[in-house]
Amino acid sequence: MTDLTFSPSPGAAPRSRMIRAQTAYELRTLLRNGEQLLLILIIPVALLLLFSSAPLLDLGAGRRVDFLTPGVLALAVMSTAFTGQAIGTGFERRYGVLKRLGATPLPRSGLIIAKTLTVLAVEVLQALVICVVAAALGWSPHGNPGTVILLLLLGTAAFSGFGLLMAGTLRAEATLAAANLVYILLLALGGVIFPLTKFSGGVRSVLELLPISALADGLRQVLQHGAGFPARDLVILAVWAVLGLALAARFFSWE
C-alpha cells in the first residue's frame, strides 16, 4: 500500500487544470446517464427520422428533411442547454454538490465555465450526429456556417441562462417538472416540427418571439433558404440571452 502522509501541503492546482478536470468529469457523467442521452440525442434523432420519412404532417413546400433538420438542431440546443442543464444543476444544488465544490479551490466562475464547455461539447456531438443522419436522408444545407454558429451560440446562451435560473431558484423536483413541461410546450409550439404557419396570425406573432421559435426559424432561414443574416431572430435570441443570464446571475442561489 502506498504510504499516505497527511502532513499539510495546501495549494490550488492551476485554474486551467481545474476547469479541464471539471469539464471532463461533467462530460463523462452526462454521457453515461441514460436519461440525459435519451433527451439530448435519441429524441431529436428519432423525431428527425420519423417525421422526415413519414408524411405525417404537411410541412409546406420543399423537402421535409430540409425543413426538419434546422428545427431538430434547435431542439438539440434547447435539450442540452436548458432542459438537461436545469435538471442536472438543480439536483446538484439539492444534494449539496454545488455547496461542497464551493469549499474547494475551484472558483465559481471556473465551475460555470466548465458547465458551459460541457454544453458546447455536447452540442458539437449532437450537431455531428444530426447532420450525419440528415445527410443520409438527403439533406442539402445552404447558407453561411458562421451565421449558423452565431445562432447556435446565442440560442445556447439564452437557454443556459433560463436553465440555470430555474436550477438555482426552484426546488429540484419543481425544476424537474417545470423543465420537462417547458421542453414539451416549446417542442410543440416553437416551430420545431410543426410549422408556426399552422397557427392563426395573432397567436403566431406571439409564438415567434419564443427563443426556440427564433432559433428554429433563424436556422431555417439560413440552412433551408440560404438567407444571409436573420436579424430579427438574432435580436430576439440576444434579448432572451441577456435577460436569462442577468436573472440567473442575480437570483441563482448555490445552496
Binding site: M1, T2, D3, L4, T5, F6, S7, P8, S9, P10, G11, A12, A13, R17, M18, A21, Q22, Y25, R28, T29, R32, N33, F91, E92, Y95, G96, V97, K99, R100, G102, A103, T104, P105, L106, P107, E255
Partner: protein, 303 residues
C-alpha cells in the same frame, strides 16, 4: 507564535426567534482535535458552517487560520465534510475523489486514500449505490485529499457501524499526528472522550463547558445512582464520613463524592434499604462527559 487554527468569539447567529449560536466562543489549535459536542439542534452545524464561510455571523468574530472565513485563499487550506450530501449521486467513488484531488497542487494519491478507507472495491460504484457508511467515508476522503491544514468534519461517524467508526477515528488520529487541526462535531460523548484534545460542550447555541476531556470529567471517582427524587440527603450524609459530598442533580440523579472505600458503599446501600429506596444504575466510576452534560443541563445528551 502560529495563529490559532480557529478562533471564535461571541458568535451570534439567529434564525427568526431561535438563536442557533448565542454568544459562542472557542479556540482550536493545529495538531489537535477539537470536538464540538452537543445534542441535535445545539448549533454545531451552524457554527462550523460559519467557520467554513457558508453562512454569515450576525455578530461576534470568527478567524480561520488567522483570516476572515470568506477569504478565498482558505479554500486551498481547509478540508470540509458536510453533515450530509456533497457528492453527485451519479458519480463513482473513485471518479469523484480524483476530481476533488485534481483541484489541488499536491494532493494525496486518491487510490491510496480509498484503500486506506476500505473503499477500493467500491471505487467504480456510483455514490447512490454505496452504503451509508461508505458514503460517509467517501466524503471524509474528499475532505482530506487536498492535504489541508485544517479540516472540518460535521458528524463524521453518524450512522456508521463500529468498524467504520474505528477506521474514521484512526484517520482522525493520523491527521492530528501529522499536525493538521481537526474540528469535528458529534453527539457521541465516547467519541469526544476518545478523540478530542479539547471538548467544547455546546447547548442552545452557547458553550456550557470546555477543556480537555480529563479536566471536564475530573480524575476523582464518584458513586452515582438513580432513585426516586427528593431523598433526604442530609440524613444520609450524617451517616457518612465528614468530607463526603452528596447531591441530587438533576432530580432523581444522585452523586456522592469522597473517599470511596467499601464501607461507604455499604453505608449508602444500607441507608437506602432502611428507607425503602430502590436504586438503579448504581455505579462507581469517573464522571463521563455524559454525566457532565447531564449535570449542567439536567438533560440526557442523546435525547
Amino acid at each position: 507564535m502560529e495563529p490559532l487554527a480557529v478562533a471564535v468569539n461571541g458568535l451570534v447567529k439567529r434564525y427568526g426567534m431561535t438563536a442557533a449560536a448565542d454568544g459562542l466562543s472557542f479556540e482550536a489549535r493545529s495538531g489537535e482535535v477539537t470536538a464540538l459536542l452537543g445534542p441535535n439542534g445545539a448549533g454545531k452545524t451552524t457554527t462550523v458552517e460559519i467557520c467554513e464561510g457558508y453562512r454569515r455571523a450576525d455578530a461576534g468574530s470568527v478567524r480561520v487560520l488567522g483570516r476572515d472565513p470568506h477569504d478565498p485563499e482558505l479554500r486551498t487550506r481547509i478540508g470540509v465534510m458536510l453533515q450530509s450530501g456533497g457528492v453527485p449521486t451519479h458519480a463513482r467513488a473513485g471518479e469523484f475523489l480524483r476530481l476533488i484531488a485534481s483541484f489541488y497542487a499536491t494532493p494525496l494519491d486518491p487510490a491510496a486514500l480509498l484503500e486506506r478507507l476500505g473503499l477500493t472495491a467500491s471505487a467504480r460504484t456510483s455514490y447512490r449505490r454505496l452504503s451509508g457508511g461508505q458514503q460517509q467515508r467517501l466524503a471524509l476522503a474528499a475532505a482530506v485529499v487536498g492535504r489541508p491544514e485544517l479540516v472540518f468534519l460535521d458528524e463524521p461517524t453518524a450512522g456508521l457501524d463500529p468498524q467504520a467508526r474505528h477506521a474514521t477515528w484512526e484517520l482522525v488520529e493520523d491527521l492530528k499526528a501529522a499536525g493538521v487541526a481537526v474540528i469535528l462535531t458529534t453527539h457521541h460523548m465516547d467519541e469526544a472522550e476518545r478523540l478530542a484534545d479539547e471538548v467544547v460542550i455546546v447547548d442552545h447555541g452557547s458553550v456550557i463547558a470546555s477543556g480537555p476531556p480529563s479536566s471536564l470529567t475530573g480524575a476523582e471517582r464518584q458513586l452515582r445512582f438513580r432513585a426516586r427524587p427528593g431523598l433526604g440527603l442530609d440524613e444520609l450524609l450524617s451517616a457518612l464520613p465528614p468530607a463526603t459530598i452528596a447531591k441530587e442533580s438533576p432530580a432523581g440523579h444522585y452523586v456522592i463524592e469522597g473517599d470511596l472505600v467499601p464501607e461507604l458503599l455499604a453505608t449508602v446501600t444500607a441507608w437506602c434499604a432502611s428507607n425503602g429506596v430502590m436504586t438503579e444504575d448504581l455505579r462507581i466510576e469517573r464522571r463521563t462527559l455524559e454525566d457532565v452534560f447531564l449535570e449542567l443541563t439536567g438533560r440526557e445528551l442523546r435525547s
